[in-house]
Amino acid sequence: MDALSAVLQGLPMTLMLTLLAFTIGIIGAVPLAVGLSSSNVLVRLACRLFVDLVRGVPIIVWLFLLKFGIQIGTFKFNPVGAAIVGLGIVSVAYLAEIYRGGLQSVPRGQGEAAHALGLGRGTTFYGVMVPQAFRIVSPSIATYLTGLLKDSSIASTIIVTEMVFQSQAFARQHPTVEGILPYIIVGILYIVLSLPVAYLSRRLDSRMRKAIYA
């Protein structure tokens, strides 16, 4: 299976892009989600505008903007750097929106009860609100991760040597019927790769449900 081994050459890059961008998103989205639920109107509007703007622009535009548009002194992004930063920024915006939804769905009474018990603001937020919100949003985060895995394929358009790029390369070298194989294989691979995430999220979800209602 030449086609399979050609496609698999891109697998480490696909996984690296996905996981690094996801890490940026998971961390970067925290302050943004706090800003989105801030009581200060200006902060909230600024964060809302940022999130909507980032989500309103297709990923390929972000990647091209970073790869070709950014030049600070002698610094230019290499393809991998542009892909990680681009996918990272987009993840920050999407995950912040998911976090905000989670925080909002925690009943108000929880915060008020924590306040009444004399807990500090930090403890209330990180010890009471966040753990409950996380339970609510963990399936959405898993869904986003599988989406991000698929979106990492867009990095092939700025010549990052991930799976789709390798499929393209193989198909170009094999103009015969064999040339369709890598596209079929890579499509199946994406589906197979997202299965463990879906499985994990379902398990996490059912465990967390038990934890809440136990």
Binding site: D52, L53, R55, G56, V57, P58, I60, V61, W62, F64, L65, F68, G69, I70, Q71, K150, D151, S153, I154, S156, T157, V164, S167, Q168, A171, P175, T176, V177, E178, G179, I180, Y183, I184, V186, G187, I188, Y190, I191, S194
Partner: protein, 217 residues
């Protein structure tokens, strides 16, 4: 301010690209929604073969990246003598995509209709067809509206991938202009703003609908 005057100069070429983007998005939604409905019926069908085919079409359409489906149509199928123009390939790939996504949303919408509605229709002696098309579907589709609008926005953004197979859409227009003067920052910023100018208000309208729906249930 020089940016603004230069943007004004680029705008005609960008607008023709935007027109192509909107056309592709429009076609993929126009065909994607009915196909999505058909797929959602296939997935819930009693016949195992029908169900399996439906499920496979949906899972590939949702599970494989749009770019891969695009390449499959444009670079893959010609190897079997089935060749499309780039814009046709883009429309076919995105239609598959939108059908797969919308089928899941419609299925969820239909399943969210209370069982009592079905039982009441049976009790009233409505035929199976009337029950589905006049009782279940209208209610199910209502709750699917915000999700389907989300798919439409996703498809509009997805048209930017057609750049990769040289469809003269918005992204391709931007790239062409950029490669003439090497003012990539400027031109891709303009391209981003063009996409955002449509996606952002569309998202706000969707959120508005979502909130209104939530109020009525």
């Amino acid at each position: 301010m020089t940016w603004l005057t230069e943007w004004a100069g680029y705008l005609p070429q960008m607008m023709s690209g935007l027109g192509v983007s909107l056309l592709i998005a429009g076609i993929s939604i126009f065909f994607g929604y009915p196909l999505g409905l058909a797929l959602s019926l296939m997935v819930t069908a009693k016949n195992l073969a029908v169900r399996t085919v439906g499920l496979a079409v949906v899972e590939i359409g949702r599970g494989a990246p749009a770019l891969v489906i695009l390449y499959l149509f444009y670079y893959g199928l010609p190897k079997f003598g089935i060749a499309f123009e780039s814009i046709t390939a883009a429309c076919l790939a995105l239609t598959w995509n939108s059908a797969a996504y919308s089928s899941e949303i419609m299925r969820a919408g239909i399943q969210s209709v209370a069982r009592g509605q079905l039982e009441a229709s049976n009790a009233l002696g409505l035929s199976q067809r009337d029950t589905f098309f006049r009782v279940i579907m209208p209610q199910g589709m209502r709750s699917a509206i915000p999700g389907l609008m989300g798919v439409a926005i996703q498809m509009f953004q997805g048209t930017s991938l057609a750049y990769a197979i040289a469809v003269p859409e918005l992204m391709k227009s931007a790239y062409n202009i950029g490669s003439q003067d090497f003012n990539y920052l400027q031109i891709f910023t303009l391209a981003g703003l063009c996409y955002a100018a449509i996606s952002m208000p569309a998202t706000w309208i969707t959120v508005f609908f979502e909130k209104r729906m939530a109020r009525h249930t």
